[in-house]
Amino acid sequence: MIIRRWIKLTDTSVSLNGKKIETESCGHALLTHLYRERNDYPKFFKMDALSKLGFIATELLLHDESQRFQPRGDRAVIFIGKSGSLADDTNYQKTIADKDNYFPSPSVFVYTLPNIVTGEVAIRNKYYGETCFHVIDELRADKIADIISDAFQDADTTSVVGGWLECSDEEHFEAYLFIVEASADGQAPEWNKDTIREIINNN
């Protein structure tokens, strides 16, 4: 398995395949800035912070891929994070915390599951393969390597868009996402824990 492309998007910086993308914004404003530069997908503004992060990171990762938006069932979307949907869970809790002002918000409620972001990405890109969000205790390259490698065990998956997607609140987040493919390519980095660790720490 190889890594075709990768992106690192945190609340303070962005880089694609190791090349820094200059930006003056940070935190939530950074995601909105990146959206306005490249996208026209108004549903973005209805998403919770985790979905916005996953959406923008995958848009950058996939933007110049050929055959984009062609329906395909061989690509899985697999994210791994620590906080899951905790940021949106907290926002939803605020809408039901006061008994005298008890108005549960349906549009906030629908994002109170971490795997919603995998659906947002799959819908956007017309992917009909596996989608999954794993919650683990901490960022670990070996876990990311194992979880995404396992996805290739089925007969359908030839490619995965996935990796670490973590959003503790609207202003604090990090995404280390990859396009991983089953093909052999001597030029591309190999998909394993050491490469993942190196990309996260250095590129």
Binding site: P42, F45, P104, S105, P106, S107
Partner: protein
Amino acid sequence: MDDLILELKKQIIEVLNLEDVKPEDIDDDAPLFGEGLGLDSIDALELIVLMEKNYGIKLKDPNQGKEIFKSVKVMADYIKNNRTK
């Protein structure tokens, strides 16, 4: 009535996160669903919450929404005649 329509448009934009829409972009008589603003079923639920929270109107039958949410003008008419706050 015009004041209520404008107030309602501002509330709809805020609660439905219609980031790039301005009140003047919303036609008083344009359908809110299907075409027009292109709202979805979750937006309809959010409008039901808006009616209760801001105007004290509790819709017991969700099917009422199909009539009430036909347009901002129809919605404002309903609020004017049924509001409790």
